[in-house]
């Protein structure tokens, strides 16, 4: 579903990604782990078009999308729930969710009725969001904002979803909740690329794992193989 080949990217003069290749098969959950500064977030940003890759290819459902604007890639079916959540603070929770489906809803009228069913589904998944649907997103707690960011990405009914550090800055109880949700997404058959600092937990939900070091994929394989890999064990799994 998502295929990345030899991706190079960076900020200004410094190159952060030095040839990243990975793939995410339909319906699978792929985890991308690695030390801070290894280039995980940069990889996500280059895939979704927030950052223009200087070299390499990104294929979404077989179609090359590298070099497109983020908006165009999003409309082609890639939803990116970015690091730091980035919900639209002044807008209501419901408006945030509706905007998640911007690409497939009519721009002027009738979008509410068309989105009603999807909204209901999201609210079912995140009952807290239903309670707060008319509240400004900026007033939510960190955990609720993360639910909203995930819900907003789901509203797009994406072919592939990128989830960047969903547990960042959250209290331990909430982190567990986040992982439960990821498990449910997996059960629902969502194609997911996950960046996570809780490597061990990420390994538990993932079907396949890539480990990044210094802007490259250093190790890849099934989660079970990771547990046997001395290098990975030492560096990331304590």
């Amino acid at each position: 579903m998502l295929l990345v080949e030899n991706l190079h990217a960076g900020y200004g003069a410094s190159e952060v990604l030095a040839g990243v290749s990975l793939q995410v098969k339909q319906g699978s959950v792929v985890a991308l782990i690695g030390a801070n500064g290894a280039g995980k977030t940069t990889t996500m940003r280059s895939i979704s078009g927030m950052l223009k890759p200087s070299q390499g290819r990104v294929l979404l459902d077989g179609q090359p999308v590298q070099g497109y604007t983020a908006a165009r890639i999003a409309r082609l079916g890639l939803a990116h729930a970015p690091e730091g959540r980035k919900v639209f603070g002044p807008l209501s929770v419901e408006d945030n969710l509706l905007l998640g489906a911007y690409g497939r809803l009519p721009a002027f009228f009738g979008f509410r009725s068309q989105a009603a069913q999807d909204l209901a589904r999201i609210y079912e998944l995140f009952p807290r969001l239903r309670e707060r649907s008319q509240q400004a997103a900026g007033t939510l707690s960190g955990g609720e904002q993360q639910m909203l960011a995930i819900g907003r990405a789901l509203m797009a009914k994406p072919k592939v979803m990128l989830l960047d550090e969903p547990s960042m800055g959250l209290a331990p109880v909430i982190v567990q909740e986040v992982f439960r949700i990821i498990t449910r997404l997996k059960e629902a058959g969502i194609t997911l690329l996950l960046v996570e600092q809780f490597a061990r937990s990420a390994l538990e939900v993932a079907d396949y794992v890539y480990v990044m070091e210094h802007g490259k994929i250093a190790v890849e394989g099934l989660p079970s193989e990771m547990h046997k890999n001395q290098r990975v064990l030492q560096a990331y799994l304590g």
Binding site: A35, G169, Q197
Partner: protein
């Protein structure tokens, strides 16, 4: 001084001397009063534009109020003479003071503004000034205008050549004084302010007083030029100082080239010549054709080198092209004066943003093989950063510190102590509140609750500047360098305890030794972080690793007691990380206490005496690096297990 240095000195000063000597000699050979009038105006506008360049070039703000200051100065001088009967020197002093005081008053509110708001404030000030000049008829004569006589100077009646010499003398004087000011720490601070006000504050260089000073000085020059303007024309009308003049003045600065005395001079010459250019159709056609040619050449070159975007290359060609076509179609170019200014200014802003001098200067220095000025030998590090005697006493204490953003509790009730002479590690997962904590300590954010004590006394809250003055220096996770300044200048901006020369003496050029001393000290700090070779390189052209080290050197220039390093190793390659550890060690040996936020556990383990672990805005563990590494909650939060499993793992 070496031969190369002499060559540089002679060429630069020689060019200035030759220009002014030629200008001074002109009245001896040219008797046309018209030409002399234009040259007098050149001197006046030269002074005005040097002033405008301070805010537009150095501060990087769009200032739409300079025409008003010209008017205020002109009326101040005019009224001093016609109403109070003052002499010429007193009237000129009055005009300069008017600008200085009103400029400072306007800057006081305006210093809180940036970009569009600043432009709006100055625009409104300009409009308000014209309204007042127009309506206060009892004083200014309103739209009728104000007639005045040029008083004698020291009993000598000033005829046209004498007045011209006087104006030129003032231009030369202003040139010299401003060169001294702008090449001193003042000028550097102005520029630093433009690139990163946050870092300027954090280095203990007051954004406040520098911005006010810069604007007041620029305004004073504007109104001083106004005084000369009044005595040149001897008749004033509010209508002369409106918006249109302001746009022309901006054209002068931008076209001449920002941050350049020569640029102001060239710009002034252009402004003076423009009306003549427009009144002669033939001349205008030649000029616009030249402009088109330049636009095409520059555009094609830019496109071939891929340094410009297509819009940047094409838009000036279209604009200059329409000038050429318009010149052929329109009978009276005077009528289209404003449109012509607009198109020219547009082409320059888009196509030649550096201005003429910005374009010519590097060309000339390459052509003449000018060497940059030599640097002194680095000072001894002991003289720059004296070793502090520390015995692990309590330095910084945080009590129940809180900082909330909306519903997010970024720092939630954190209490910790930092001991003098320690390297205190602060670790935790992304978003755990480490950066927010140091942002509160260093004064970027005011705390939502709790107390911070330095040496048992309350630390200033919510002010980077005052925290810096209290002895806290920091680096930034997302670099906040002064990108356009050289590495050396970056350090020199922050340097504390060197600049002692009072302003008047500095203006007269007595700060050279101090400047050499500052260079030597800054070089010593660059040497400490291994950047001596890159001293002259522009900060934004440095490699990423070098930029990180430069930030450390700059923070050290504040000669701090407590140094906060916010993820200094983020994004560094392995050899750089090794060098970083070595640098931090050396800083530590000088008795500087360090708070180190870091993700690389190896760096933390190797350096830190004490480590505090944050998660979700709260402290979850504290102790030596080895201790916290064994702590189950830390393993859970930091090393990669979600909390549920960690609890199982707990013995």
């Amino acid at each position: 001084m070496s031969a190369l240095m002499w060559k540089r000195f002679l060429l630069i000063r020689g060019a200035e001397l030759a220009t002014f000597a030629t200008l001074a000699a002109i009245p001896l050979f040219v008797s046309s009063s018209y030409a002399l009038g234009l040259l007098t105006l050149l001197a006046i506008y030269g002074i005005l534009l040097i002033g405008l360049d301070v805010s537009v070039g150095y501060l990087g703000q769009v200032n739409l109020g300079q025409a008003a200051f010209l008017g205020l100065g002109a009326y101040a001088a005019g009224l001093s003479v016609s109403l109070l009967g003052w002499g010429l020197p007193a009237a000129l002093v009055a005009s300069a003071l008017t600008g200085l005081i009103i400029g400072a008053l306007l800057a006081l509110p305006a210093l809180r503004l940036e970009g569009p708001q600043f432009a709006l404030a100055t625009l409104s000030f300009g409009a308000l000034t014209v309204t007042v000049l127009n309506e206060w008829e009892g004083l200014t004569g309103g739209a009728q205008g104000l007639q005045l006589d040029r008083p004698p100077l020291l009993g000598i009646r000033l005829d046209a050549p004498a007045f011209y010499w006087l104006c030129m003398l003032f231009l030369a004087l202003v040139w010299m004084l401003m060169r001294n000011l702008l090449s001193s720490h003042w000028g550097r601070s102005f520029e630093a302010l433009r690139d990163s006000p946050i870092a300027t504050d954090a280095m203990g260089v007051g954004t406040y007083r520098h911005k006010v000073a810069a604007f007041a000085i620029g305004s004073a020059l504007g109104s001083f030029a106004g005084g000369l303007y009044a005595f040149n024309f001897q008749y004033l009308q509010p209508h002369s100082f409106v918006y249109e003049l302001m746009v022309i003045l901006l054209l002068g600065v931008v076209l001449g080239g920002r941050k350049s005395l020569w640029g102001a001079f060239v710009g002034a010459a252009l402004i003076v010549l423009l009306p003549n250019l427009l009144s002669n159709r033939m001349l205008f056609q030649v000029f616009s054709a030249l402009g088109l040619l330049m636009a095409v050449l520059a555009g094609v070159r830019g496109l071939l080198n891929k340094t410009t975007r297509p819009f940047q290359a094409l838009a000036p060609i279209v604009a200059m092209g329409s000038l050429v076509v318009g010149g052929l179609l329109v009978a009276n170019t005077e009528d289209w004066r404003k449109a012509i200014f607009a198109l020219m200014l547009f082409s320059v802003v888009v196509g030649l943003p550096e201005g003429l001098m910005g374009f010519v200067t590097p060309l000339l220095s390459r052509l003449l093989r000018m060497a940059p000025p030599a640097l002194p030998a680095p000072a001894a590090l002991d003289e720059v950063l004296a070793t502090r005697q520390v015995h692990g006493e309590l330095l910084l204490e945080l009590r129940n510190l809180k900082r909330y953003f909306g519903g997010v509790k970024a720092v939630d009730d954190v209490s910790m102590c930092v001991c003098a002479g320690h390297i205190h590690g602060l670790i935790g997962p992304n978003g755990s509140g480490k950066s927010t904590a140091v942002n509160v300590i260093s004064g970027l954010y005011a705390p939502s609750g709790g107390a911070m004590l330095l040496h048992g006394k309350a630390l200033p809250q919510g002010s980077l500047y005052r925290a810096a003055r209290a002895g806290i220096a920091r680096t930034f996770q997302n670099l906040q360098l002064f990108g356009e300044l050289s590495a050396l200048d970056n350090v020199m901006v922050a340097l504390k305890g060197v600049y002692r020369m009072p302003l008047p003496l500095l203006l007269l050029g007595f700060a050279r030794r101090e400047e050499k001393r500052a260079q030597a000290e800054a070089l010593a700090l660059l040497q400490l972080v291994g950047l001596t070779q890159q001293a002259r390189a522009r900060a934004r052209d440095l490699t990423y690793g070098a930029q990180r080290f430069l930030e450390i050197a700059r923070a050290l220039a504040c000669k701090p007691e407590l140094l906060i390093l916010d993820e200094p190793a983020a994004g560094l390659a392995q050899p750089d990380v090794a060098q970083l550890i070595e640098i931090i060690r050396r800083i530590h040996q000088r008795g500087i206490t360090i708070i180190l936020i870091e993700h690389h556990m190896d760096v933390v383990s190797e350096l830190c005496n004490v480590v505090t672990v944050l998660d979700g805005g709260k402290i979850i563990a504290q102790g030596s690096a080895a201790e916290v590494k064994r702590h189950p909650q830390v393993i859970a939060a930091y090393l990669g297990v979600a909390p549920a499993e960690a609890e199982h793992a707990q013995p």
